[in-house]
């Protein structure tokens, strides 16, 4: 089993830049970000068109995927706690998965090496 871990975070989009900055400080620079829609405990929004109500509880969210090896998972979770938590419904969720393998397409490097920003000079 490799020591690669994928952390998937679904959260509000408005704190993303703060979160990204804090991640860079602990050495995480590679992120995959997807605009997402989701529902949870947060209350719905009401749209009104000529008085016709349309209630929707699907909210705009951001899904951030990170794969780490040398950076401890707990450090990432600490950043999540410090930058994303408001205590209100809608803060989101974190999912953690083991990853079988990582391959960097440009160099063919595998595993931990594939995750480094600057490939070793050979």
């Amino acid at each position: 089993m490799s020591n690669l871990t994928k952390i998937e975070i679904i959260t509000r989009p408005n704190r993303f830049y703060e979160f990204q900055k804090a991640l860079a400080e602990i050495g995480v620079s590679g992120l995959t970000v997807t605009k997402a829609l989701g529902t949870g405990l947060e209350k719905g929004l009401i749209e009104l068109y000529r008085g016709k109500k349309k209630e929707t509880n699907v909210h705009e969210r951001m899904k951030i995927e990170i794969v780490v090896s040398t950076v401890p998972v707990e450090a990432v979770l600490e950043v999540v706690k410090n930058t994303l938590r408001t205590g209100e419904p809608g803060d989101g969720k974190v999912f953690i998965y083991p990853v079988a393998e990582v391959i960097k397409i440009s160099t063919g490097e595998r595993g931990v090496d594939a995750l480094q920003d600057h490939p070793k000079e050979k």
Partner: protein
């Protein structure tokens, strides 16, 4: 000078129909925006031709009390010289073109009622028959030489009966006969800024519509100008005040809808009332139309998709009644006094004009629809409705990601 003024007014009214295309187009879902705009553009194509061939003749040529004649088909006898029955100042051809823009616009307004579900081929056949069998006769009743409502003394300055009540009632009938959209509850406007641009063009064009109906620049035309703008502004306040009270939020779509409600309401009265009356007519028009769209439509469960009836039908009926209440010969010597100026008779005439228009238009529309139904389906099938009319009927998409 009159001819230049009327030429400009004609251009303004012409712009209202593309305006309707954008106004309605923005209010449907993204999969139906092109098909909705097509309703307006095909009315420009078809009614333009129909009008010079025979429509104008049926509406305005000398005939009986109910319809004109074929004397002016292909504009025979319609030339540069003024026709004194309608105006001794502007070319007869110009008057014909001005009236053409009304005939086109009226058809385009109807399309709001059945947007997102009517079969395009059936629509084309419908507007040909409707324009000849409904629009031309009603225009003749109200404005035509010898028309019975004109002789009766009912007042309709710029087309409350002819344009707004007739299109609104037709829209209501079509909405009921076609039935509700499958996803009526989930259908919300895909592009309100587009609807805003369209609404602005419609408002802009309305100055040509109402002011030009004086057919000359005089005191009546300027009264109509002031009244039109005042009523539109008051319509916004009326609509949004009620909306804010009931739904707790003032909306942009509400402001533009309120302006149109005010404009519809003042149309029959524009050249007959004082500015104070115009403000009241517009304000109440905004409030009444909001009530019709918000409450009446929900209660009776018809699916008037873009509120052709709620705005034009209801607003036009209120405007016709208001003309009977507020008209005064102080503003227009050729008009009449209304109830509040000591003449109850005018209100009776207005009610006759409104009632007869509603009944005639509704019955004739039902007959036309059922005749078309014998030959082709008037509604698209469920799959087409689900995929959207742009792709299934016209083979194009408005937006590519």
């Amino acid at each position: 000078m009159e001819a230049v003024f009327m030429f400009f007014c004609t251009l303004l009214v012409w712009l209202m129909t593309p305006g309707i295309a954008l106004f309605y187009g923005g209010m449907v879902r993204s999969k139906n925006v092109l098909s909705t705009a097509m309703y307006s553009f095909s009315s420009m194509a078809i009614i333009s031709i129909l009008w010079v061939v025979v429509g104008y003749s049926l509406a305005f040529a000398p005939g009986n009390a109910f319809i004109g004649s074929f004397d002016w088909t292909f504009l025979h006898s319609v030339g540069f010289d003024p026709n004194a029955t309608y105006s001794d100042a502007i070319p007869h051809t110009l008057f014909m073109m001005f009236q053409m823009t009304f005939a086109i616009l009226t058809v385009a307004i109807i399309s709001g009622a059945f947007a997102e579900r009517m079969n395009f081929a059936a629509y084309l056949i419908f507007i040909i028959l409707w324009s000849l069998l409904v629009y031309s006769p009603v225009a003749h009743w109200v404005w035509g030489n010898g028309g019975w409502l004109r002789e009766l003394g009912a007042l309709d300055f710029a087309g409350g009966n002819v344009v707004h009540i007739s299109s609104g009632v037709t829209g209501l009938v079509l909405a009921i006969v076609l039935g509700r959209r499958k996803e009526a509850e989930n259908s919300s406007p895909h592009n309100l800024p587009l609807a805003l641009i369209g609404g602005i063009l419609v408002w802009f064009g309305w100055y040509g519509f109402n002011v030009g109906s004086a057919l000359t620049i005089d005191n009546v035309a300027m009264a109509a100008f002031v009244n039109t703008n005042s009523a539109a502004a008051a319509g916004i306040i009326g609509w949004v005040a009620v909306e804010w009270l009931i739904n707790k939020k003032p909306t942009m779509l509400g402001t533009i809808s309120g302006a149109i409600a005010g404009l519809v309401s003042i149309t029959p009265a524009a050249g007959f009332v004082t500015v104070g009356s115009a403000l009241l007519i517009g304000f109440l028009g905004g409030a009444i139309c909001f009530w019709a769209v918000f409450w009446l439509k929900g209660k009776l469960k018809y699916d008037d998709a873009l509120d052709a009836f709620g705005l034009h039908g209801i607003g036009g009926i209120w405007g016709g009644i208001a003309t009977g209440l507020f008209a005064t010969t102080k503003i227009n010597k050729l008009g009449a006094d209304g109830l509040f100026y000591g003449n109850a008779g005018l209100l009776g005439k207005q009610l006759i004009a409104i009632g007869s228009t509603v009944v005639f238009v509704a019955i004739a529309t039902i007959i036309i629809i059922y005749v078309i139904k014998i030959f082709i389906p008037i509604r698209v099938d469920e799959e087409q409705e689900y995929k959207g009319l742009d792709l299934t009927l016209h083979g194009e998409k408005a937006y590519h990601d």
